[in-house]
């Protein structure tokens, strides 16, 4: 059956995502976030896009979750006040509207006769995309990463001065 694996992954990942937002302890929330990222990378493995899947693991679990965990441990595990009643309603409304838009998307894409392309992913096409098509994008990315590094350093600088 074609749907079982993605559906199971969807249940698994969305449970992890919900737990990461709703757990009492932020550390457990960060662990659940790591599990969510793991679920996403399993999605990518299942779609036969191994480079993206491993990139996801290395960057999200290896760097972002670690840094979030570090911040949580510095800031403190215990929650401050949580929940905003009017906005919860707004969030629920957003949820409903998104499900509705999904229904519309279903109506279009569900009617198409699509099969997953059988072409195996070749690393050469990714290299070609990076080296040839997206060279300028890499340059912009470099500027952006540098700028964010400068910004982060400037923000953290004061912190370092005081300790």
């Amino acid at each position: 059956m074609d749907y079982i694996v993605p559906l199971a992954l969807m249940a698994f990942s969305s449970a992890a995502a919900l737990f990461s937002l709703e757990s009492k302890s932020l550390v457990y929330g960060a662990i659940a976030l790591a599990v969510f990222f793991l679920g996403l990378s399993l999605f990518f493995f299942y779609l036969d896009l191994p480079y993206l899947a491993i990139f996801q693991l290395a960057v999200y679990v290896g760097a972002i979750v670690v840094l979030i965990m570090f911040t949580v441990m510095i800031v403190g595990d215990k929650q401050t006040r949580e929940g905003r009643a009017p906005l919860v309603v707004l969030g629920a409304l957003g949820f409903v509207s998104m499900i509705t838009s999904f229904a519309y998307a279903m109506e279009y894409f569900g009617s198409l006769d699509l099969v997953p392309s059988a072409q195996p992913f070749s690393m050469a096409s990714l290299s070609a995309a990076i080296v040839q098509n997206y060279g300028a994008v890499i340059l912009v990315l470099a500027c952006l990463l540098t700028a964010s590094a400068y910004g982060a350093i400037a923000l953290a600088r004061k912190e370092a001065e005081e300790t």
């Binding site: 960057v59 570090f70 997953p116 964010s148």
Partner: protein, 121 residues
């Protein structure tokens, strides 16, 4: 779509084997070892001192900037692997942008090290 193709079945098997080994060693230890509770034993070990202070203290974080830098570099070095894969295929012209990407990231390292030196880290 390859689910368990490409030999990844053995990845699953190996993972399960390792988990089994770890858990079995652990549970054997739990079963064999004695357990006697005593408040002194469960006190956290701080070289014989009585542990002062609260439960979880907040600690110094003067190397935080290096962690931020690590995040940026992690992404960049993973991206560079995609270029390294096709290093010989595109000649010198293909290397222009990736090398530029590397050069862009040297000044932040320099700045971070300078900041770190300024604050005496």
């Amino acid at each position: 779509m390859a689910v368990l193709g490409d030999g990844s079945f053995w990845f699953l098997v190996y993972l399960l084997l390792l988990l089994t080994t770890g858990l079995v060693l652990y549970s054997v230890s739990f079963a064999l070892a004695p357990r006697v509770r005593s408040p002194l034993k469960e006190e956290t070990f701080e070289s014989g001192q009585i542990p002062p202070g609260g439960k979880r203290v907040r600690l110094v974080m003067q190397y935080f900037i290096f962690l931020l830098l690590f995040m940026i570099f992690d992404v960049v070095s993973m991206l560079l692997f995609a270029w390294g894969y096709a290093f010989f295929d595109y000649g010198p012209a293909g290397s222009a942008y990736p090398v530029l990407l590397l050069f862009f990231l040297v000044p932040p390292i320099y700045l971070t090290l300078k900041v770190a030196r300024q604050v005496g880290v």
